[in-house]
């Protein structure tokens, strides 16, 4: 128990002795993780919006001419167990369309009920896009079904954009992580180099490599966690500052989950990521030095 406590004491006292190096290392990690965090927060918000919007989806199953609405309705209910299914005759469909158009509904005055096919509406609250796609495929295969629409072409496009952004974000994360590790490793190498005399003397009086390295590794972890913590706080602050503007832009589309705070896993991930980068960077710097010492 005494050794870890002693290593922490030595790490803190070394950080206090070189505040400029501590500031540089922490600042480097903060800047890198802030960029990563902002990208991750944007992706996370986009994903949550996508899922929320997908959850609002209603699947419309259009009947082929001559198909029996009740028969197809029963088949749809069987194919979508647990979902609310409603048979909507063509005339009712037209009325709903006119209602949804509001004042523009008058445009449909001359349109007869035969203009639309009979339809079965399936309410699928909370469904994901993938599941909606799979359910639509099952429904399309039913006898008497002409077409299935879950009105999410734009959602699919958004999902494609998000998928690409996710890949780009991951690449950015890896790139920034690597660059930060190299940068912080070089900064910590300076810290190790500045204390080369201390290390040399410690080794001459019988210190093991583990004894010498432990406070440096702890310093890396502490500086990384501090940089990551600051980045997490900054990302959360930016997120909460931008949310009202996002909600204003989206209007009624700003569904509840999108305006919720960022997931704690993301914020915790930034802190843990900072600590991991700090550990890796200080490990690289210290081992390289000790191998030569």
């Amino acid at each position: 128990m005494r050794r870890p406590v002693e290593a922490f004491r030595r790490a803190f006292s070394a950080m206090a002795r070189s505040p400029d190096l501590t500031f540089t290392a922490t600042g480097t990690i903060f800047v890198a993780l802030l960029s990563v965090g902002l990208v991750a927060a944007a992706l996370s918000t986009g994903e949550r919006l996508l899922h929320a919007w997908a959850g609002e989806v209603r699947i419309s199953v259009y009947l082929a001419p001559g198909a029996d609405l009740q028969v197809v309705g029963a088949a749809v209910a069987a194919a979508a167990p647990g979902r609310s299914v409603e048979a909507v005759p063509a005339a009712e469909g037209l009325r709903r369309l006119a209602r949804s158009l509001g004042d523009e509904g008058k445009l449909l005055d001359g349109v007869g009920p035969d203009a639309l096919p009979d339809c079965v509406e399936v309410a699928v609250p909370g469904i994901g896009l993938e599941e909606a796609r799979a359910l639509s495929a099952r429904l399309r295969a039913l006898a008497g079904v002409a077409d299935v629409d879950f009105g999410t072409a734009w959602l699919e496009r958004l999902e494609t954009v998000l998928r690409r952004a996710r890949v780009a974000g991951l690449a950015l994360l890896l790139g920034l992580g690597l660059a930060t590790t190299v940068l912080v490793s070089n900064t910590l190498r300076l810290a190790v180099y500045a204390r080369r005399e201390e290390i040399e003397i410690m080794k001459l009086v019988g210190a093991t490599n583990a004894f010498v390295a432990a406070p440096f590794l702890l310093e890396g972890v502490l500086q990384g966690a501090l940089g990551g913590g600051l980045a997490a706080a900054a990302v959360a602050a930016v997120h909460s500052a931008l949310l009202p503007r996002l909600a204003a832009v989206l209007g009624p589309l700003a569904v509840v989950p999108a305006v919720a705070p960022l997931p704690w896993t993301l914020l915790l991930g930034l802190v843990a990521g900072g600590a991991a980068i700090g550990l890796l960077a200080s490990g690289l710097a210290t081992l390289r030095f000790l191998r030569r010492a």
């Binding site: 005494r2 050794r3 002693e6 002795r17 005399e197 201390e198 040399e200 003397i201 410690m202 080794k203 001459l204 009086v205 019988g206 210190a207 093991t208 490599n209 004894f211």
Partner: protein
């Protein structure tokens, strides 16, 4: 304690720093290692505290062949050795007390015990009132005494001192030598590298003389060395 068999140490492009040295130092001995600058005294000490390895020959330390000591074991070997360096090697940004405590911290002794031992050591070198000072504020003689206190901190079986009185006046030299003699009286084997002939005349101890890396004389007093010089 220390056994060297035909030990040679060479550096690329230079004449051998040590050449075919065979020497034995027994437990509890007090040995002066002497010779002019460049004779190989410091190199020999560096080999003994495992800072370097011999180019050829065998060096046995505490009965163990140093060539068979792995890098991971070197710290454990060094914990039996106290070293007083020619340039003191004190940490300028640590207090005198912290400098003396270093070998004890490395051994993970409890802080209370470290404090107690450091106080005792500083008292023994007459510097207990300067424990909170930093090395640059001390005179050369005081720094040397701090270095001796640090070397003795962990009660080492072997004490190596490289020109421990090189920067001191006659009074301070006497003080430091008394500290080393006291450590020897407590059972510590002491090896002192020095080119100060007055020191050898004052203390009648075994004198090992090196010249251009070769052992040229090994006797029990300065007289033998003088005879060799003639």
């Amino acid at each position: 304690m220390i056994q060297l068999f035909h030990v040679t140490k060479e550096y690329p492009g230079e004449p051998p720093a040590l050449s075919d040295v065979t020497l034995q130092v027994d437990k509890g001995e007090f040995v002066f290692l002497t010779g002019p600058s460049g004779a190989g005294k410091s190199t020999l000490l560096r080999l003994i505290f495992c800072a370097e390895a011999p180019s050829s020959g065998q060096l046995l330390l505490f009965g163990r062949n140093v060539a068979r000591v792995s890098p991971g074991e070197i710290p454990w070997v060094r914990r039996h050795i106290g070293v007083v360096f020619q340039d003191f090697k004190l940490l300028a940004e640590r207090t005198i007390g912290e400098n003396v405590a270093l070998p004890l911290e490395v051994r993970s002794l409890p802080r209370r015990e470290i404090r107690r031992k450091v106080q005792g050591l500083l008292r023994s070198v007459g510097l207990e009132h300067r424990a909170e000072k930093f090395p640059p504020s001390l005179s050369g003689g005081e720094q040397q005494r701090v270095a001796v206190a640090r070397a003795l901190a962990a009660d080492p079986a072997l004490l190596l001192a490289d020109e421990p009185t090189g920067n001191l006046d006659a009074d301070r030299t006497l003080e430091v030598m008394e500290l080393l003699a006291a450590a020897n009286a407590r059972g510590t084997t002491v090896v002192i590298a020095t080119h100060d002939r007055s020191l050898l005349q004052r203390y009648t101890r075994r004198v090992v003389a090196l010249e251009r890396g070769r052992l040229v004389s090994d006797g029990d007093s300065i007289r033998q060395l003088s005879e060799h010089a003639r």
